[in-house]
């Protein structure tokens, strides 16, 4: 199937996922267009992480379909490398490679996985370091960086693969309040540059500001969704209202 930019870049249809007996996703559907930023919010354990991990095949699904630029993810013969070239992911715990410097962390995947030229990759990696405002930290090891700095290296590391879509799973949840802002700024700039983003976040103010569309999950289902304005101000479902009243 040939994908064209007028079709959804990510198309999730009726996805079911269970860990053993525990049903975590019970038929989730959503579409993300190119350049769109969507935020997924919802109570703990509602399956937000599970859902976005399914998009880059870190979790497999039992039923349903996930198309990423027309590539079916729910396929036993899935070309994972092809998929992961298109989809970048940033985690809550940064997950940098602790034995590599910031610059090496960023260069590693392009050089090892894509077999790109090392010196050209280094030029690009240094640009990315500048983009996430970490000049001077090129040769620091992750253990020598603050949480916020590590997370920005992790974002740069994903961007080095030149992905079409970025997944963010509560990337500020492990940070000190004063460093949350610097990471959110980086993501906002990325969104403004037209990157397609799927974010799981608890930062409601941020979601309201950057998202084109908000999805609220509870109990493995999407309960409600809409553009930020309608979603935050005119939520219809009582579960959404209760969640928002607790968190705002």
């Amino acid at each position: 199937m040939n994908w064209t930019p007028d079709q959804p870049m990510v198309s999730i249809k009726n996805v079911h996922k269970a860990f053993g007996e525990l049903e975590v996703l019970k038929g989730v559907s959503l579409d993300v267009m190119k350049g769109e930023v969507i935020c997924i919010i919802g109570p703990s354990g509602s399956g937000k992480s599970t859902l976005i991990r399914c998009v880059n095949a870190l979790n497999d699904i039992q039923q349903g379909s996930i198309l990423v630029e027309g590539q079916e993810v729910n396929d036993p013969d899935l070309d994972k490398l092809e998929l992961r070239k298109k989809v970048g992911m940033v985690f809550q715990q940064y997950n940098l490679f602790p034995h590599k410097t910031a610059l090496e962390n960023i260069m590693m995947a392009p050089v090892r996985v894509l077999k790109r030229d090392k010196s050209q990759t280094e030029v690009f990696a240094r640009e990315l370091i500048k983009k996430v405002r970490l000049q001077g930290k090129e040769d620091s090891y992750p253990g020598e960086l603050s949480g916020g700095q590590q997370q920005r290296v992790a974002i740069a590391r994903s961007l080095a693969m030149k992905p079409d879509i970025m997944l963010f799973d509560e990337v500020t949840a492990a940070l000190d309040p004063e460093t949350v802002g610097e990471v959110l700024t980086t993501i906002k700039e990325l969104a403004e540059d037209g990157m397609t983003c799927i974010l799981v976040t608890h930062e409601m103010g941020f979601a309201r500001e950057v998202a084109d569309h908000i999805y609220f999950t509870d109990g493995g289902l999407i309960v409600e969704h809409g553009p930020p304005k309608t979603f935050f101000d005119k939520a219809k479902d009582p579960r959404t209202r209760e969640f928002l009243s607790q968190i705002l």
Binding site: R84, V87, L96, H99, A109, G143, S158
Partner: protein, 247 residues
Amino acid sequence: MELFFEWFRVLYDTTGINLPFLYDSYDRGRMLDGFLTTIKLSIVCLICSVIIGIVGAWLQASAFTWTRRFVNGYIQLFRNTPPLVQLYFFYFAVGALLPKVETDWGGQAPMFGSFAWAVISLSFFAGAFNVEIFRSGIEAVPKSTVEAAESLGFSRLQIYRDITLPLAFRVCLPALNNNLVNLVKTTTLAYAIAVPEMLYEANQIWSDNVNVTEMMFFLLIAYFVLVGVLVWGMNSWERNMKIPGYG
């Protein structure tokens, strides 16, 4: 140099302390051969046992039940039997079962000599411990770090080589060093199948010269220095591998 060696002949003549491997060129040759054989045996076994450890730990994480069982069986067998018995088993039992090969002059010779059997036996012995050591190191690598590599498109082999092993290595280096030091000490067992290593050559010398006491002193000091150099090397390697701000 000659003067230095001659001094030990004088020492023998005046005090009776007999160190022929210093003043006698023939014994000196034997001792040097023994020393070099010990070094060679140690280095080859070190390398082979580390390779066995790395490959074994990789196979132990295999998706196939039988591969895992095979590796576990191997570990149990070699951990729970004495290394000397293993050595005899390889040399006398397995060696006898293998076909003989033609030699250049038309005779029959065993496929492997005693040195080769010592390498095989000792490598598998130390390798069994290395598998366990590497596995514990690999288990200490966070799953989330591996997932990050996966999400960047790394294949399973690339992850093992570029992420898991380098990190696991740092975790298990102290245990690995310990095992490798043990391995070097265990090479003396090769004496039992007549590999001409240091202990064996020393035995030849004390049989000819009846200077058991002196040779024992010498052996103890020689191994102490040899293993000491290894330990020192390993420790500085451990320090070099340390990552700033980690562990």
